[in-house]
């Protein structure tokens, strides 16, 4: 496989019993790309991402992430990935400094190094607060930025964002994406898993999944043009709308 890809999969498949959660996925993601995983609940996004993180063994097929094979080097892969979810990544009962310290332990980064990086990242995301402030007292938009800072402590080349900006105000959302854009510009690869189509607009390229299969794989603009859709929401409902409870 070519080393210039950050992620490359060949017929990556996961079967649970007689249910195929991910069916022969073939994707290629380049360094510096913001890549979206879109799909309704149960479409297979989370299963696919868990395989790429080395958290779940594929049933068949192959996936290389940051030069490592997910079946062989899952531990090495985990150190290459930063993960941020808006829902449960920070401890509300810890202060900002304590959350940073906790995550530096998890990622096995020396505390001093982690603090240096955290200071740079806090500046980059525009959080100018005392380390003693309790995380629970922060507004949602601030928590998201702090979660991002924690996900970057081990300086991973690959960052996975799970619905990173749903529910925050539009200003905080744009500020967040400006940071993500500059991380991508620095060469970090960003994967965004979401079912919010306004987040999809920020991707260079995206896939839409349904019932474990990749339906489309292209840039938002090319997809809108191809299907004659006004916006991503319309396109998504057109392609993914056939799944029902």
């Amino acid at each position: 496989m070519n080393a210039e890809y950050m992620i490359r999969t060949e017929d990556l498949t996961k079967v649970f019993g007689n249910f195929t959660a991910v069916d022969k996925m073939n994707i290629e993601i380049m360094p510096g790309q913001i890549f979206g995983f879109l799909g309704a609940n149960g479409a297979g996004k989370t299963t696919a991402i868990r395989m790429l993180c080395g958290l779940l063994k594929p049933s068949s097929g192959k996936a290389m992430v940051a030069g490592y094979d997910v079946r062989v080097d899952s531990e090495a892969i985990k150190r290459k990935i930063g993960y941020m979810s808006q829902r449960f990544s920070l401890y509300d009962d810890l202060s900002i400094g304590e959350n940073i310290r906790f995550y530096s332990g998890i990622y096995q980064v020396p505390y001093k190094v982690a603090m240096e990086r955290a200071k740079d990242s806090l500046k980059m995301v525009g959080l100018d607060l005392s380390m003693k402030v309790m995380t629970g007292s922060l507004p949602l938009g601030f928590k998201q930025r702090l979660a991002l800072v924690c996900a970057l402590l081990h300086d991973p080349p690959l960052l996975i964002l799970d619905e990173p900006t749903s529910g925050v105000d539009p200003m905080a959302r744009r500020a967040f994406w400006n940071v993500i854009n500059s991380l991508a510009e620095q060469g970090k690869t960003i994967i965004v898993s979401t079912h919010f189509m306004d987040e999809a607009e920020y991707c260079h390229r995206l896939i839409i999944m349904r019932s474990g299969s990749v339906l489309v794989d292209d840039s938002p603009r090319a997809l809108k043009e191809k299907y004659g859709s006004r916006n991503m929401q319309e396109l998504f409902l057109l392609l993914a709308g056939a799944v029902n409870e």
Partner: protein, 306 residues
């Protein structure tokens, strides 16, 4: 006739002001959207309308009743709170029966109403399933059905689509249109800007203040700005040219979106053309999103919205 009238409503949690001089009206028969991010004041406003919290300052009337008559108001409205509020250990049918009794639905009529609600929610085949074991989208449909069992004239829904995927969201909105068709007035809150498109009128709320209240068409035309999407092989260079010329300039994947006032749009495009000489690019006008508009109301200093 207005179903809801709110005048100069303020609400404080100790020293924190949650609502700041809110005035708005909901017209009979409309779907009115309360659009704003988390902690904008949507839930506080709805809880006051339902009589779950007192009015501290200002005046509220619901279905021509003063907010002091909250017991009577409560019997005439359906309320779906933000958190899933049904009994997880009761089945779908048991939850419906429970709410029917709570709202004094005559015993002879209960079964017919349940059948009507099943026909509309497609939940009948799950009637024996515990509510806690339903999927997210189905839970929302059941909660909506429970809020409708006493045939309220006004439905107040607090972020009913929060965390629900787009396909289930679309189905939910189709159900709301149907309820509206039966003559029910609906006030619905959402943090998702795109849902503004589905309402007859919307109120934009942020930091406890109503920023604007009107039809989306009117809000768009009052906004008086155009949005263009630019793309180029060298986006960074193009961004540098566009940013100083636009009110807002944002990178979206492989495209840059800029906002410019209608009045100076032609002039701005000419300037852009002269400054990007030698750079390959293409552009087109695109429809403004609710987010574009919301941003300019949040930032009046920068955006000079009158």
């Amino acid at each position: 006739m207005n179903t809801i009238n709110i005048e100069h409503l303020c609400y404080y949690y100790d020293k924190v002001q949650a609502l700041d001089d809110v005035s708005l009206s909901v017209i009979e028969g409309e779907i009115h959207g309360l659009i704003g991010p988390d902690s904008a004041g949507k839930t506080t406003l709805m809880r006051i309308l339902c009589g779950l919290m007192p009015t501290q300052e200002g005046k509220v009337s619901v279905l021509s009743l003063d907010s002091d008559d909250f017991m009577q108001i409560r019997s005439l409205i359906g309320y779906m709170p933000q958190r899933f509020s049904l009994y997880q250990d009761l089945s779908v049918a048991e939850n419906l029966k429970f709410f029917a009794r709570l709202f004094n639905v005559p015993a002879g009529e209960r079964d017919k109403r349940m059948q009507d609600l099943y026909a509309f929610s497609h939940l009948e085949e799950f009637s024996g399933r515990r509510a806690g074991a339903l999927s997210g989208g189905m839970k929302q449909k059941l909660a909506l059905s429970c809020a409708l069992i006493h045939r309220p004239r006004l439905l107040i829904l607090d972020e009913p689509t929060y965390g629900v995927d787009p396909v289930s969201r679309q189905e939910f909105w189709q159900m709301l249109k149907q309820i509206q068709g039966d003559g029910t007035t609906i006030l619905v809150s959402t943090p998702y800007m795109d849902e503004a498109e589905l309402c007859d009128r919307v109120s934009l709320i942020n930091g406890g203040k109503i920023l604007e209240s009107d039809t989306l068409t009117n809000i768009r035309s009052k906004w008086n700005r155009k949005v263009f999407s630019f793309s180029a092989p060298n986006l960074k260079q193009l961004f540098g040219v566009l940013e100083p010329l636009a009110e807002s300039c944002q990178l979206f994947g492989n495209e840059i979106h800029i906002v410019i006032p209608n009045a100076s749009a032609a002039q701005s495009l000419d300037i852009i053309k002269s400054r990007v000489e030698g750079i390959k690019y293409r552009y087109e006008e695109i429809e403004s999103s609710m987010e574009d508009i919301f941003l300019s109301y949040m930032n009046p200093g920068v955006w000079r919205v009158s």
